[in-house]
């Protein structure tokens, strides 16, 4: 069923939409963000103005964006999906051409005072496009090779650009995010089996390529893999972050050292403690109880999104919701796995908690779409 088939009267209008917003989701997001403020206050050594206050301001802006998007009818999003994708794609090209070098990689584009990371925007735009594509596509054609190849191209084109920046982490997230939408849309499992098989082959090839002149990754990326495999080999060099983060995390114990009592984070052994490693601060200060509480909040957000997706009879809306919650899932699981030493170190923020505007805005944008899908679901 497409929105054109709705009886528009069945969809809430005007401010009545407020009543139809997925309020539990809003509450959960706010709760997670509040944990973030608390931790930013703590890592700043009890100062609000260092990180917590700007983050609160961003959260307020993000909330307004989310609620505003929630009011925008779902069919509008489908209408602009192709345009959004193309716009993001062009921005990615622009970044590759004129982007600012930051943190050893080229990821940002400056538009006046605003810094935009098109690769992050692309995560949402790709989900939009794929959802629109599968909504448009005849259900019977979903697993036909040509109709599979088309979305694969949609995924790989921006991925290639992101990889050129080079940003391996975002590339993987784009592929995985896109893959999840395809998976949810019902593409045959055989394809996924084949892709996973190919990926294993690729990893093998990458490892073999090391030291040859067709080396597929940069040296620092190889080193990250090394330190991931054996952080102890270089405890003061590249493995330092992981070891320190594990120490901080592990030393939290059951109930943690107490709010503002985390010695590791306080004493600066942890790098980027307000961004990528903020989870360790939480785990150190509030222990297993605190860390698993956050995990439970994340799971609840995923649960509400899934429920909303499955209860929505509109295919586009469902796919959007699943795609965005999957992106959210990837964010936090990659971050947590990294700080625990389960994945190689890569700069990825803890969603809704880490200090930083980009990921917060992207996520609030995404949740805005989820809310819009929820508000405008066919009844």
């Amino acid at each position: 069923m497409s929105y054109l088939d709705y009886k528009v009267a069945q969809v809430p209008t005007g401010f009545r939409k407020v009543l139809y917003i997925n309020w539990p989701l809003v509450l959960l997001i706010t709760a997670v963000c509040c944990i973030g403020f608390l931790m930013l206050y703590s890592v700043a050594g009890g100062r609000l103005d260092t990180w917590a206050e700007p983050q609160m301001y961003r959260f307020a802006v993000g909330m307004v964006i989310m609620l505003t998007l929630a009011f925008v009818p779902m069919w509008f999003w489908r209408g602009i999906s192709v345009a959004a994708y193309v716009a993001c794609f062009l921005m990615l090209i622009a970044v590759d051409l004129f982007g600012v070098i930051g943190m050893g990689a080229q990821r940002w584009i400056d538009i006046g005072p605003i810094r935009i990371q098109p690769s992050e925007l692309m995560k949402i735009a790709l989900v939009l496009l794929l959802a629109a594509y599968y909504d448009w596509l005849d259900l019977s054609k979903v697993s036909r090779p040509f109709w599979v190849l088309l979305p694969v191209m949609m995924i790989l084109a921006p991925t290639a650009l992101v990889l050129m920046q080079p940003d391996l982490g975002t590339s993987i997230m784009l592929i995985t995010g896109g893959g999840i939408v395809m998976f949810a849309a019902g593409v045959s499992l055989w394809y996924f089996g084949a892709v996973i098989g190919a990926a294993v082959g690729l990893v093998y090839a990458v490892m073999v390529s090391r030291g040859t002149d067709w080396q597929l990754l940069k040296d620092y990326q190889f080193r990250r893999i090394d330190t991931f495999l054996d952080p102890g080999a270089d405890p003061l060099g590249a493995g330092y972050n992981i070891i320190q983060s594990q120490i901080a995390l592990g030393s939290g114990g059951w109930s943690g050292r107490g709010f503002m009592q985390g010695t590791q984070s306080r004493l600066n052994f942890l790098p980027e403690k307000h961004t990528d490693f903020i989870f360790t601060v939480l785990a150190e200060e509030f222990g297993f109880i605190g860390a698993s509480s956050l995990l439970i909040l994340y799971m609840l957000i995923l649960g509400f999104c899934l429920y909303s997706a499955l209860s929505n009879r509109d295919r586009f809306a469902s796919l959007i919701t699943i795609g965005i919650s999957a992106t959210f899932f990837l964010y936090f699981s990659i971050n947590m796995a990294t700080v625990m030493g389960l994945l190689p170190a890569k700069g990825s923020p803890l969603p809704l908690v880490s200090y930083g505007g980009t990921s917060l805005m992207i996520l609030m944008l995404g949740f805005g779409l989820v809310q819009s899908a929820h508000v405008h679901r066919p009844r």
């Binding site: 069923m1 497409s2 054109l4 088939d5 448009w136 259900l139 999840i180 998976f183 949810a184 849309a185 019902g186 405890p235 003061l236 330092y240 320190q244 594990q246 120490i247 901080a248 995390l249 592990g250 030393s251 939290g252 114990g253 059951w254 010695t263 590791q264 004493l267 600066n268 052994f269 785990a283 222990g287 297993f288 860390a291 698993s292 995990l295 994340y298 799971m299 995923l302 649960g303 899934l306 997706a309 499955l310 009879r313 295919r315 469902s318 796919l319 699943i322 999957a326 899932f329 699981s333 947590m336 796995a337 625990m340 389960l342």
Partner: protein, 648 residues
């Protein structure tokens, strides 16, 4: 495109199925994360807690720069110079130090023995401890290493301050030296400053360096740094610079000290020059000396052995630590005791037949033929022993000892130098306590001419001379100012000795130098304004046996060096308004008049002149020899006082 109801149902079912599968994957992932968290935070929390506690804040001390030691005119005696060295940290060298050592050996000379020593050191110490590879590098070597640093992982060129004694051996005994802190040093200090525990820290061992350690050391600065669990410094939290130790200005004149050292040459001797009015020690010099810089760097056992085995004992400070029978220089004490006791007056005479008989024993005068009838002044002028034998029998030892102490003998003068001796001014009680024996009259006779039990250091002799010269109880001082603050010197109280007695003693000393029969006439100063008074002394270090006497007195020259007499001389000038008192002891030098007196006179002249003794101040027949001596000396060329520092 319109979708059928059936299509919608299919789609919904499909999405539900796949959504639940996805949810399954997500739950599995989150479960994995939770399990890992559980394992780290619950099962291994203790381990991580221990590692975390290894990450902590450490204080790293910054050793303070040691205070300078200056002479009375602001010339530097001890300062701190840059010591260029390189350290190596094994961990930063990648665990294996061999290749680094090999590459380093191409840049700086490193012996195989040294390399073995280092290897041993590296195997024993922690991998994160920097170990000093080479010390006191030249700037060229240091920069060569700095330039090659990229190929020498873990090697750290550093520069640290190290003590330097720019005046060489001149002040070795006065100023002393610094050296590494030993466990013994630490055990002696209550609540030692933590900076002493720094591996390369040096502390004053002897002399002013040792005695004024607290003042000179300064206050350590500190850096608060974070170290991680492997001991690596992560960042500096704060840095507080230390305070340099206070500048200590001595009363000693470096030029005079240098001259005194050169004048004594290779003799085993000591010279003390004291300012009569203030008691300031303008020179206090023990010879031969040694290079204190060797001790700072860690003296080699070979060098140390050489110093220890030297029969002239260069390490001993003969000025304050060495005590000698004062010989005839003690006669002023006996004389003053007699005058003050009213036993004699200036005109009293004794007859000297060349000896005094006491029971069966004969006490000889140095002049076998005797001096005939002798009065107080002549007794000093010609140093008649018999006069004092007679006097001693009448005065008694206790009054002599009291006079000796009044004049500064037999007591420890408080100077910031090591092992300042008390000397001995013997009396009945002393002998009773020391030997549990009754005092014999013969002991008094020996004491009266500064033999027997009497012992005095050159410092004490200088004090004695200054007190006689001024009639005031001047006390020696060595420190002129600390950190620019002038040490106040209290006006010396008058001695409890009548002027008339003192005048007689002074007149006798004047006669020693200037009368035609004075024992030290050849060492007189002929310049009227530096009119000089003095007293010779020759103290026996052996007993002359009856058999020796029967064979005739053996001349000193025929004896082995260490059995010859000590030569002593005390003097002051100008006679009318005393400025400087000088004492000189030449160990086993022979006669006081021939060996010690010329040295003392020349040093006195240098002090009075503020430079090399003018030739026209000495008798004309000595000028050529003096000229030759000056030319043979290699004196420090006077350097400008340090700019920017008040000369206080």
């Amino acid at each position: 495109m319109k979708k059928s109801q059936r299509e919608i149902m299919d789609s919904s079912r499909q999405i539900t199925r796949r959504g639940l599968m996805l949810a399954g994957v997500q739950v599995a992932t989150v479960t994995t994360l939770a399990l890992k968290m559980r394992s780290m935070q619950l099962d291994h929390a203790e381990e991580y807690r221990m590692l975390a506690d290894g990450n902590s804040i450490k204080m790293r001390l910054l050793p303070p720069a040691r205070g300078l030691i200056l002479d009375r005119n602001g010339l530097v005696i001890a300062n701190n110079e840059q010591n260029y060295r390189v350290t190596l940290t094994r961990e930063e060298a990648g665990g294996d130090v061999e290749p680094v050592l090999r590459r380093l050996a191409q840049l700086i000379p490193m012996s195989d023995a040294r390399t073995d020593e280092l290897r041993d050191e590296f195997s024993k110490r922690s991998a994160v401890t920097p170990i000093v590879l080479a010390d006191r590098l030249s700037w060229e070597q240091f920069s060569a290493i700095a330039v090659n640093a990229p190929s020498l992982p873990g090697v750290m060129p550093e520069s640290a301050l190290s003590r330097a004694y720019v005046r060489g051996g001149d002040f070795a005994h006065v100023v002393g030296y610094v050296g590494p802190v030993s466990d013994y040093d630490l055990s002696r200090i209550e609540d030692p400053d933590p900076v002493l525990r720094l591996p390369d820290f040096q502390l004053g061992k002897i002399g002013v360096e040792g005695r004024m350690e607290e003042v000179l050391r300064g206050k350590a600065g500190a850096r608060r740094v974070e170290v991680n669990s492997t001991g690596r410094e992560m960042r500096q939290l704060s840095r507080q610079e230390g305070e340099q130790g206070a500048t200590v200005q001595l009363t000693v004149d470096a030029a005079l000290q240098n001259y005194a050292a050169q004048r004594m040459g290779e003799e085993s001797a000591a010279a003390v020059v004291m300012d009569c009015a203030t008691g300031e020690l303008v020179s206090i010099c023990s010879s031969p000396s040694f290079d204190p810089n060797k001790f700072v760097r860690g003296i080699s056992s070979k060098d140390y052995r050489a110093l220890m085995d030297h029969d002239h004992r260069p390490l001993a400070d003969k000025t304050v630590q060495g005590v000698y029978p004062p010989g005839s220089t003690f006669k002023m004490v006996t004389l003053l005791a007699g005058l003050e006791a009213g036993v004699i007056n200036g005109g009293s005479r004794y007859y000297c037949p060349g000896y005094t008989e006491l029971g069966s024993r004969r006490f000889h005068c140095w002049r076998r033929g005797g001096h005939g009838s002798v009065d107080a002044i002549t007794s000093l002028e010609q140093s008649c022993d018999v006069y004092y034998y007679e006097l001693a029998q009448r005065v008694g030892i206790d009054r002599m000892a009291a006079m000796a102490r009044k004049l500064g003998l037999g007591q420890r003068h408080d100077l910031p130098m090591s092992a300042v001796s008390e000397g001995i001014a013997p009396d009945r009680a002393w002998k009773k306590a020391r030997y549990d024996q009754a005092w014999q009259i013969g002991d008094s006779l020996n004491a009266s001419i500064g033999q027997g039990y009497v012992l005095a250091s050159p410092l004490q002799l200088a004090v004695m001379t200054a007190r006689i010269a001024t009639g005031r109880a001047v006390s020696p001082s060595l420190i002129r100012s600390v950190d620019g603050v002038r040490q106040d010197i209290a006006e010396a109280p008058a001695l409890d000795i009548s002027d008339s007695s003192l005048r007689i003693a002074r007149m006798g000393m004047e006669a020693v130098m200037n009368s035609s029969r004075g024992t030290a006439r050849s060492s007189r100063i002929i310049r009227e304004e530096w009119h000089m008074a003095g007293k010779t002394g020759t103290s026996q270090v052996r007993n002359i046996t009856a058999a020796e006497r029967a064979r005739g007195v053996v001349s000193n020259d025929q004896l082995p060096w260490n059995r010859r007499d000590h030569a002593l001389f005390v003097c002051y000038a100008p006679y009318e308004a005393p400025r400087y008192a000088v004492s000189v002891v030449v160990e086993h030098g022979g006669g006081g008049s021939t060996v010690a007196a010329p040295i003392a006179r020349d040093i006195l002249l240098f002090a009075l002149n503020g430079g090399l003794p003018p030739l026209d101040a000495v008798p004309s027949d000595q000028r050529a020899a003096m000229q030759a001596r000056h030319e043979a000396m290699s004196l420090y060329t006077p350097e400008a006082p340090r700019p920017g520092r008040s000369r206080a």
